[in-house]
């Protein structure tokens, strides 16, 4: 073997091994969660609130409700802001203020979630003197907006300029071009961006610790403390009772499943967008 082919083989092996490691890590995590989680899954787990202290059984329906409510309200608050900001940056490409907005979105994405949590605590929980699901949603919306804005901008930039020109040439005003051409053409891309953002915030724990706080009861009121799957996992996993630790695995399984479904849905939509383009 010559020196050159030797080097080539070594590099080839390294690259393949790294790629393999990536798959292996995900596989180990998923497998472990699946094995540990599925054992304790039962109907009660999905439909009941936690059993009173000292009793066995019970479920995490309270946390499932909480995760859905908190995530959807965060998305409802964040979606318009994210999409509008994305439209602004895309429509004013190359302008100073748009560049600043984009830079801030990137910076906001990089703020650690625990800091967002403290922020939510200081400005919402302390001010309104109560932990609440709504303050959790607002904190998560801060994380939701920048990702949504960036994705929206990127998919809007992919809309062929020929389509916008065609619309302008027909006498359309800029607002009409944005709504009837750009947004419609980019709709499935924006939707998958929203789903990815939702998947991202659904798994956040740190902001919830200071805001939603958690609850043992099935809570529908956004103004009261509420549980969520990541919170429940955190509390159960750090408890000394084996039964609760097992439930933490099951909750982890449900959470991962939920996030993977959201992400798979997003990928599927992105694939559809690309097919339309081709």
């Amino acid at each position: 073997m010559t020196r050159r082919t030797f080097k080539n083989n070594v590099m080839g092996l390294l690259v393949a091994a790294s790629a393999g490691l990536l798959i292996a890590v995900l596989a180990v995590i998923l497998w472990h969660i699946f094995i540990s989680g599925i054992r304790y899954l039962n109907w009660d787990f999905f439909t009941k609130a936690p059993a009173p202290m000292g009793e066995s059984g019970g479920g995490v329906f309270n946390a499932i409700v909480g995760t859905f409510l908190i995530t959807f309200v965060a998305a409802a608050i964040g979606t318009p802001f994210g999409i509008f900001a994305g439209i602004y940056v895309s429509e004013h490409r190359g302008q100073r203020f748009a560049d600043i907005v984009r830079l801030c979105a990137d910076a906001l994405q990089g703020v650690p979630s625990i800091v967002i949590g403290i922020f939510g605590y200081t400005f919402l929980v302390v001010r309104f003197r109560s932990y609440s699901a709504l303050s959790a949603s607002i904190a998560l919306a801060f994380m939701f907006v920048p990702t949504t804005a960036r994705v929206t901008e990127e998919v809007l930039n992919l809309v062929p300029s020929g389509l916008k020109e065609a619309a302008y040439a027909l006498g359309a005003r800029p607002s009409s071009v944005v709504w009837n051409v750009s947004i419609k053409t980019a709709a499935s891309g924006i939707t998958s961006g929203l789903m990815t953002s939702m998947a991202r915030v659904a798994g956040e724990t740190a902001p919830l610790l200071f805001t939603a706080f958690g609850s043992r009861y099935i809570e529908w009121n956004m103004l009261r403390p509420m549980s969520a799957l990541p919170l429940q996992i955190y509390i159960y996993a750090s408890s000394p009772y084996p039964a609760l630790q097992q439930q933490a695995w099951s909750a982890a399984f449900v959470l991962v499943l939920l996030i993977l479904l959201l992400q798979y849905g997003a990928k599927h939509l992105i694939a559809r967008v690309l097919r339309v383009k081709a």
Binding site: A166, L170, G171, N180, V181
Partner: protein
């Protein structure tokens, strides 16, 4: 030429992209209901010239222009740009039907995008009439509610022509509309021009000499951003008055 036969007139049009001047003092009088070919080598400013007519050149960042454009004697700078574009339609180099709209919706896109409401009967009538005009009705009658992008390239370009003339413009700008098409589709569109000019004033950008000779009644020859020569096609091709036109016609520049 008599004043009443002029649909569009430009007076001393200059245009810049940033610091680069791309059009120099272009003054031309475009005859009504004729095909005028805008001809010249690549980069001579033909496309920029037609885009200044409907203000579309301003979509390029850093673009600006000066000069006067008279549409039927009215200075377009006194009109709302939306009205200018309703009167001066445009067909582009690449077919660009809206991918989110059906064939039917594409024809009516101009009404929809400018917020004009049509009754069902009006809409149906416009769609059938315009698609017939561009020779597409028979071909797409069964596909009206399929995506506009599902048609062939040549059909898509005719759909784009339909979308433009559905707005009943006075002038239609064609910016090298056949450069992305096969010879057969090109021939169909060239034939179409001879019927369209009964209703519309047509400006047709092309870099092909043969195409200009085949389709146009008048020709404007551009070089380096200047209008070198304008006249009846036959006269320009047979006896060019400017040395540069003669050189171009004899194949001296690309």
């Amino acid at each position: 030429m008599e004043e009443s036969l002029i649909a569009l007139e430009t007076q001393k049009i200059n245009a810049w992209f940033g610091k680069d001047q791309v059009l120099f003092e272009v003054s031309v009088r475009i005859p009504r209901q004729r095909v005028t070919a805008i001809m010249g080598p690549s980069g001579c400013g033909k496309t920029t010239f037609v885009r200044t007519l409907n203000g579309l050149h301003l979509m390029t960042p850093g673009a600006r222009s000066s000069g006067t454009i008279l549409l039927e004697g009215v200075d377009t700078s006194t009109m709302d740009v939306v009205d200018v574009r309703k009167h001066i339609g445009m067909v582009f180099q690449r077919p660009n039907p809206f991918p989110t709209m059906t064939v039917y919706e594409n024809v009516l896109a101009g009404y929809r995008l400018t917020g004009q409401r049509l009754s069902r009967e009006q809409a149906d009538e416009i769609v059938e009439k315009t698609l017939t005009k561009v020779g597409l009705w028979g071909e797409v009658q069964e596909k009206l509610f399929k995506a506009g992008t599902s048609l062939s390239g040549g059909q898509q370009q005719r759909l784009c022509i339909a979308r433009t003339i559905a707005m009943e413009p006075a002038v239609v700008l064609f910016d090298e509309p056949t450069s992305a098409l096969d010879p057969k589709s090109t021939a169909i569109i060239e034939d179409l021009l001879s019927t369209l000019k009964a209703d519309y004033t047509i400006l047709f950008v092309t870099h092909g000499l043969q195409q200009a000779a085949r389709i146009s009644d008048y020709v404007a020859f551009f070089m380096m951003g200047e209008l070198v020569e304008f006249g009846e096609t036959k006269r320009v091709f047979v006896g060019p008055q400017d040395k540069r036109t003669e050189d171009y016609l004899s194949g001296k520049y690309g």
